[in-house]
Amino acid sequence: MTLFADVLIPVMEVNPVPWARAQMAFTLAFHIILVPLGVSWSVMALIANYRGIRRADADAIRLAQRWSKYMAVTFAVGAVTGTVLSFEFGLLWPQFMGHWGEAFGVPFAFEGLFFFLEAVFISIYIFGWRRLKPWTHFWTGVPIAVAGIFGSVSVVAANAWMNSPEGVTLDTAGNVVAVDPLGVIFNGAMPLMAAHMVIAAYLVGGFLVAMVYATAMLRGRRDRYHRLGFLIAFTVAAIAVPVQMGVGDGLARWVYSNQPVKFAAIEMVPTTSSDVPETLLGHLNSEGQVVGGVPIPGLASWLSDPSTGRATVVQGLDTVPADERPTNRQVNVVHLAWDIMVGVGTALFLLTLWYWASWIFRRDMPRSKWFLRCAVAAGPLAVLAMEAGWIVSEVGRQPWIVYNKMRVEDAATTNTGVWITFIAVTILYIGLGVTTILVLRGMNRRYREARRFEETDSPYGPREPAKET
């Protein structure tokens, strides 16, 4: 006991706040990669499943059933990393939860509901291939898709509340005395953020799955099966991209009106003015002046409110005291992340234009190898855009954990051992990520090499008596 008190505790006396931030950001950034697969893969599997039953298409059925097996793995990893997040809210931000849990928690109560449904039906769908009737089985997959959408909408509602903390009544000491649950859930930031995230889920999930089949096609596996896998996934993503641009534009305007400091960080605007340029790349130096980059005159003003055009005034960073806005370094992070998100979004938009144009003019997908190469790149790029978007949203809110109501350092735990858990979690998650990819690839290889199975052993096909092992 004295060993613990005299030796270990002093060693662990490290300021927990930066470590808590790093751990939260890292685990969230990891979890969010699995979310799109959880939300959108089930939809793609259902599309294939529907087609498979309707047109007695064996390739489509095979896709649906393999996808459902991959989903089992990504869903499980998504579930455990999500569970860690719910521990972390308390372990890292106990004061935040103690103070605001009564409001922030409300959307999670509904999220729990949807995750429950998702988990139950995913089990039924994945395990039901062999014995349920085809259409019955198909319908057991539909709740997964619906619950995925509502589940992520609920989580994002909680995050949006941190940006737009409405629906609470405070006493003079700042304690929550009354909560209006609908006001909390449907806070101002929620509709656009939720839409932007759900569409991002389809976009990212679609490109990630399409990436796998594009790789296979580049390696010469251009049979119908791979083509179908590519087409379903890429089409889902190609529908999502233009919608995502529109919603993102609306979201940017919401930020302009409601979180002017974040907007100033996004557009890197040190002082208030009109006719603000949209600066591509570049950064703030230690004096807070814009250095480098390519300015496009007046565009930021124009985009913020097209009705007033270049005369639109954009509030600068200096309108709030330095300790109530992101630091210069954080502004640089936000601005770079913004450039990445919008840049990648634009690139993906061009790629989908190519795809649609080819369908319109040639009634087929582009045949060029370069198209497939771009489609392979689109997978990781879409993930990058989504991560960047979250960094814009989260770092841009600094130093507030609850916008204008609670600062991050007042929210953090006082436990000085967080640096240890950060290291443990990082190692664990790296192992988890690598293993996930290895397992998925191993499954893929096994499918390709599985020659010993009988042709009759297909889903919905004539079955041998169940072999209970």
């Binding site: 999670f108 089990s123 039924i124 010469g220």
Partner: protein, 347 residues
């Protein structure tokens, strides 16, 4: 209303302890099943029995957290501040367990399978122990109110915590063994029926002994809870003991459906007894349910969500269990056929 929210919380904890606990207990039997050859068959039964349901069972934990931090955020803040270490252990254990189980099913190579299996098994024991130790710390008043941290070490390394941790491990092992006996019977595997039956009796005996020792520890370390256990909660304690013995009795001869129910009742009554015994404290003798409760708007929202859950999730769960019990969810997907035309194109 505050009471309703607290009941919801305890109901969720009870269900998690039973169903999540049974999954953890199955991991315990996996851990103790012995070498690859000897343990092969028991492990198959275990895999078969928890395959389709584990993920859904595990969501109860999330639900517990959500109800706790939303309706009783002060208690949540105090618990997470004080119990930093065991909660971290539990979180990491859950990651390892869930991931290794999913991976283990997805890989075919024997060696990879075995290492995932080992991780799965060890973490299955670690997690219930941590939760038990946390419950013990709470019961013995180690968690202060007001969002302050208690002793970072003593709060979960103390006699009550140790006993509760061991109790959690042995009770989950017991419930799992009873359920596995039933599953083995469903698979018409008489050898495995006998195998798990012996283990159910052994785990039941250990759990009973730990519970008895626990009563003495609780008497000296957690007097408020002891008072509750010997008065308000006494009927539940008795139900738990009787059902626990009854389940073992019903396992003689051909395993009986009632045996499963009795084992579930034994575990459930035990958890409920703890809740009733420390009523109306969330954190015994420092924080009551009503003092910790959120404003009524929040509680209403959570109760509405819970009502919807009853409407939507209960039927879904029943569907899942019924399909599972009828053997309609035999395995993931189907055995696969090779891709066509893959002779020349393999990269």
């Amino acid at each position: 209303m505050d009471t309703a929210a607290a009941l919801l919380l305890f109901a969720a904890i009870t269900i998690y302890a039973i169903f999540g606990g049974a999954d953890f207990g199955a991991g315990f039997w996996d851990l103790t099943a012995g070498g690859a050859r000897r343990g092969e068959r028991p492990r198959e039964v275990i895999d078969h029995s928890i395959g389709p349901v584990w993920e859904a069972n595990h969501v109860w934990l999330i639900f517990i957290f959500v109800v706790l931090w939303t309706c009783f955020s002060e208690a949540y803040a105090s618990i997470t501040l004080t119990m930093f270490v065991p909660l971290t252990v539990a979180a990491l254990g859950i990651v390892l367990r869930g991931a290794s189980f999913a991976f283990g099913k997805a890989v075919f190579r024997q060696r990879a399978r075995r290492s995932f299996g080992a991780i799965f098994a060890v973490s299955s024991v670690l997690v219930p122990y941590s939760f038990g130790a946390i419950a013990g710390g709470i019961a013995s008043g180690q968690v202060p109110a007001g969002g302050r941290a208690g002793d970072p070490l003593h709060s979960w390394v103390n006699p009550t915590s140790v006993v509760m941790g061991l109790l959690a491990v042995s009770v989950t092992a017991y419930v799992a063994a009873v359920l596995l006996t039933w599953d083995a019977r469903r698979l018409s595997d008489e050898a495995m029926v006998g195998y798990f039956r012996v283990r159910a009796v052994a785990a039941g005996a250990v759990a009973g002994a730990v519970a008895l020792v626990g009563l003495f520890v609780v008497r000296s370390e957690a007097s408020y809870v002891f008072g509750g256990l010997t008065s308000r909660a006494l009927p539940l304690v008795i139900i738990s003991a009787v059902a626990g013995l009854g389940a073992l009795f019903l396992l003689r001869g051909r395993p009986h459906r009632g045996g499963r129910l009795a084992a579930i009742a034994a575990a459930g009554a035990l958890v409920l007894a703890w809740g009733v015994a420390q009523w109306d404290y969330l954190l015994p003798e420092t924080l009551t349910v009503s003092a910790a409760a959120a404003p009524s708007g929040t509680i209403t929202a959570v109760l509405v969500a819970a009502g919807l859950a009853v409407l939507l999730i209960v039927p879904a769960f029943i569907l899942l269990y019924v399909l599972d019990q009828r053997g309609l969810l035999p395995e993931e997907g189907v055995d696969d056929e090779p891709d066509r035309g893959s002779g020349a194109d393999r990269a």
